[in-house]
Symmetry: D2
Subunit: 359 residues, 4 copies
């Protein structure tokens, strides 16, 4: 188990889906940050269940408590502990799958690795764990606000429904205008209806989230192993259900010639070095170059479905896993704040690490 | 700068393209490993320049020296230092671009981040650095051999030329049978001719490498942040020119329904728990499940081309960057052993970390 | 700030003296440990205030809550969060020193380093923080119990009163028989009376704690930097008020000749390699050799005294700091469980790290 | 094995006493440092064997090569590899103890821990390893020079011969004026003669080194675990033969009352906050307070002596270990530059870490 992320702005998350609480300790947050409780709660609210009929109906207020590290409205440089006590712990819901391995869940691998397993709602492997990430990410955002960094992510694909427009052609202020978190209202409606139909079928569907990081100054990212995009990749791949990550030109870019793909430098009217195109995705040699950073993250369909499935139990006997309880037919809308949070955590750590590059 | 990778099997690489030497220190290799110098040299030979007319003609024997950590043919548990002295240091080749930012290279970002920059062949940002990774990766392979783990990677796409067959339908023993390192000889020939044409045009082209990791036992990978696929993603994204990573069903999997995507468990004739399909790509909840691990890695076209390009210099003035010197028109064939190496490094670290999971 | 300790059994502590709570997250505890709540509470009780008239009269039950990581009485391998909510938060006690730097406290250095400072009872720099260490250390002890490792520490000196007997001549089962935690009852009584007199004088006094670690198997400790005694030294020096650490022959050993100091090896009746003497203190080359590990830790007199002292305030003006509130005249008796805890944390990490030494 | 030290200025050392080379990779040195090869060689010369008749007569020039990370006289921010090839590899000297455990050496513990062991001169456990630390420490000194930090250490005790003067009463510029490295010439002569007599007797003797760190600004050190003195303690305890560490008032301070020990603050003529006394040793709450940092380090007598000793071999049989070869009768004079180096490494890391404390 490694529930610690970050080299300087270091977070340690804890908690199980149906345990007493989930939370996070942030060790390494600079002192002097105006602590904005509302920002944290807003981000938690964007992730919490029960936002619309296309998300799980589990009831959680997801309100948090600050246990340490903040004094008279400012961070003090000491560890900040944030805790969310679980309210809706219907453990009995899970008795029927206590010794069964749910297909494409982590039941089998946790059981093999640890010998014991908290089977209630997936325990530690539940996406409920990400609430702690969102709280920590909101803290990271507070720090990044001082640098003018802006973080956006939105749903750009659900199943085969793919938004044709690039991020430059979208109004990113509209991401939260609909339940899907797609800033194109027309496409958002189609996606909503599709997800709702999948829900009624007791099934689930995947999709893609696009992330955009604006105003990141040149110089963040630590090659050769902790390149900025490598850290983003790791952080985003660590989110439940993620199967792929690409940035800049990504997988499509492999079909271009170098003469098409290279981003020519020029100096703009303010004397700033810029690139004419941005196939690089704002990162060159693993270091931000001042252009927009953009990337795409693939999410598989949620493993929990309301349809009977073949499986085995701890003893290896064939069993049927029956769908039951509450679930998200599509994780994408609620994953948007998680992608934001992980992006913020990567950036704040990169920013702090860049402070020691030069004498 | 962070040139250290791994939590337990920890490597620290060093060296610049045209400096005195490149190398690696491995701190944390277990004692008692039969040290196989030939395996290391073989892997270095697979990566070295000048293998065929579609790779750079730089002359480097890439022979290595062992400075420490091995005694009477076995690793002793102490740090193992491997060094490759640079032979072909034609620094004068680079005088013409000493103060110019080559498009889509790391010249601008290194200059901004560090203030000073070794401009000779890209200095530390050169892919020459990966020779040290390959040496360390060969050491990791020696350890993994004891577990029967097999590591394969091959070129599955060059530009728009995409191998239609999945890895199951290929003979992975044939990867090194041709200069492209595509195990399908027919496709390999087409790719070779295409790369050769791109080379003649002074241009470059990207592609995709597919990786396959066989016989990885269930239980490797450390959620929630150091999930096995997240570590693979980071390690592979840290390779020069990589723009994307996906594993299992990847980006295509987002279009499937949960009922199509889920991998049903069953018990095989030997009492082993297996899955009927493998959309999960051998990893569930960030932990290996015993099935094949497979993934795809996207490489952009090499930034160095033989065609004049617009750019700016350190002073911000508009300049022309002229192609000159030796370069790879397509990095993919030489990147195969690097993908192998990074995969091996991720796996050996995951294996060692898994030793402390249980009481 | 770095409130994280350990490479594998990694703890992150949080909390201020007069904040909402203090606590710890343990990331890396193996699964399958029988979770013994009583052991944790016992250790906390040994550290808690108000045990006798020679300790501070602050009222804290120091009862803890388990927030995660334990299921059906066993650790699951996931992070274990333990929280102690503060009860006795008399912040008003500290208004009079809000902008004053108390002599030999951390007020000035925290203020300089972080710009802001939680002045209530020293905030994060208070020894109250060590309650979280004691909770984590109790968890470490549960793991070590499986290896038969025994951890003892006791007060061997208070001011100039020094116990002449070595640890071999004491009954270590009697450490908790008196309020001083000195296993020699006669000396304990003298120490008690002396501390009580110092208390009445409004003053404070230092002392030495001796630690003894029995049944540590040969092979723990990671040279060349993380030698077992170097880790013990760091861990113990990180406890509030500690000024020195020595192990084995320590500072006195420098006066011996090599021919006197060397520990001759022999093979005992069970075929086990032993040493005739143990000036090495159970550690050779930074690795345990199977003999008893013993060490001494020096604690300065507590900085808080009931006597007026000269100082300056945040503005640099001369001020008087008046003694007020509750304090320990001698930290030693309550520091014993903290020394135990840090020793346990060092050993459990060393034990887990030793699992990856050999192929 | 853990041969990596430092969180930001991270060093990885490698090499065995009689292997091909020893060396170090520094990952995290800031760019823009004027690289001073002479400083490095000077420090290595202070540590090298054969300086006088009271040090070992092994012949090693200890000249180093720079393999990477320096360009046109400046550090580039990339890893700096420094290598010292071993010249005097008289391995045959060690054949007679190949399977014997030398008393109070690390032979037995390495053998137990790793199964295999490079017996030539102690292999990795030899103090020869510290040459790499000295090279890295010299690099750290280059960085600290920009902050005006001064590092001194000297021999203050050999056997029972103890320098009565405190560091304030000594001329620290005279440390290198004699072979003993004691700045008091009269005492130095006595120590020299004593060590020489011990040498003639084929025996060895221990001693104490006092360290003084001047001009360290307030604010360095990372509580609660990486307190500045805790890092110093660990770093110094990791040096071969060290048995104890104390700073400020140390072990003697435990006998003082709080009213005697506390350091009163005052504001000096320049408006700087100072303390009237310095029992704190320049560190309060684990953070430097701007006063001199001073400490003492205890070294045991060298384990290698020219006198026959009882021991056992790998098979457990009783054997005699006969003294042979070249050795230091007292490690102190050559340990002075090592104490300097470790102090510098601790300080440079603390300096860089302090850069991220505040927003």
């Amino acid at each position: 188990m490694s529930s610690t992320y970050g080299k300087i702005f270091k977070i340690s998350t804890f908690g199980e889906s149906h345990g007493r609480a989930i939370g996070v300790v942030v060790d390494g947050c600079p002192s002097g940050v105006d602590f904005d409780e509302i920002l944290i709660q807003n981000e938690l609210d964007r992730r919490k269940p029960g936002q619309s009929r296309i998300t799980t109906q589990r009831k959680e207020a997801d309100s948090f408590e600050v246990l340490s590290g903040v004094f008279e409205g400012k961070t003090t440089g000491t560890p900040i502990a944030l805790v969310i006590f679980n309210e809706d712990q219907k453990s009995k819901d899970y008795a029927h799958i206590a010794d069964k391995f749910r297909p494409s869940h982590a039941d089998y691998t946790y059981s093999t690795k640890y010998g014991v397993r908290d089977y209630r709602g997936g325990g530690r492997s539940s996406a409920r764990e990400t609430a702690a990430r969102v709280a920590a990410g909101a803290l990271a955002k507070m720090v990044l606000n001082h640098y003018g960094v802006e973080i956006y992510s939105y749903v750009s694909q659900v199943g085969a429904m793919k938004l044709a427009k690039s991020y430059q052609d979208l109004d990113l202020s509209k991401i939260d205008d609909n339940a899907v978190r797609c800033p194109d209202s027309e496409m958002a409606e189609k996606m909503f209806n599709y997800i709702d139909q999948v829900r009624k079928d007791g099934d689930s569907i995947g999709g893609v989230i696009t992330g955009v990081l604006k105003n990141v100054p040149a110089g963040w990212g630590e090659p050769v192993f902790d390149k900025l995009h490598a850290e983003l990749g790791k952080a985003l791949l660590s989110i439940n259900a993620v199967k792929g990550f690409e940035y800049g030109s990504g997988f499509d870019g492999v079909e271009l010639l170098g003469s098409q793909h290279n981003d020519a430098f020029f100096t703009d009217e303010n004397g700033k070095v810029k690139t004419k195109t941005n196939h690089s995705g704002g990162i060159q040699g693993g270091i931000s170059n001042g252009e927009d950073i953009y990337f795409r993250v693939a999410f598989k369909p949620v493993a929990t479905i309301m349809i009977d499935q073949d499986s085995v139990n701890e003893a290896g006997d064939a069993v049927t896993v029956s769908g039951k309880g509450r679930h998200d037919p599509c994780v994408l809308p609620r994953a948007v704040p998680i992608v934001d949070a992980m992006s913020a955590l990567v950036l704040v750590d990169a920013m702090l690490r860049a402070r020691v590059n030069k004498l």
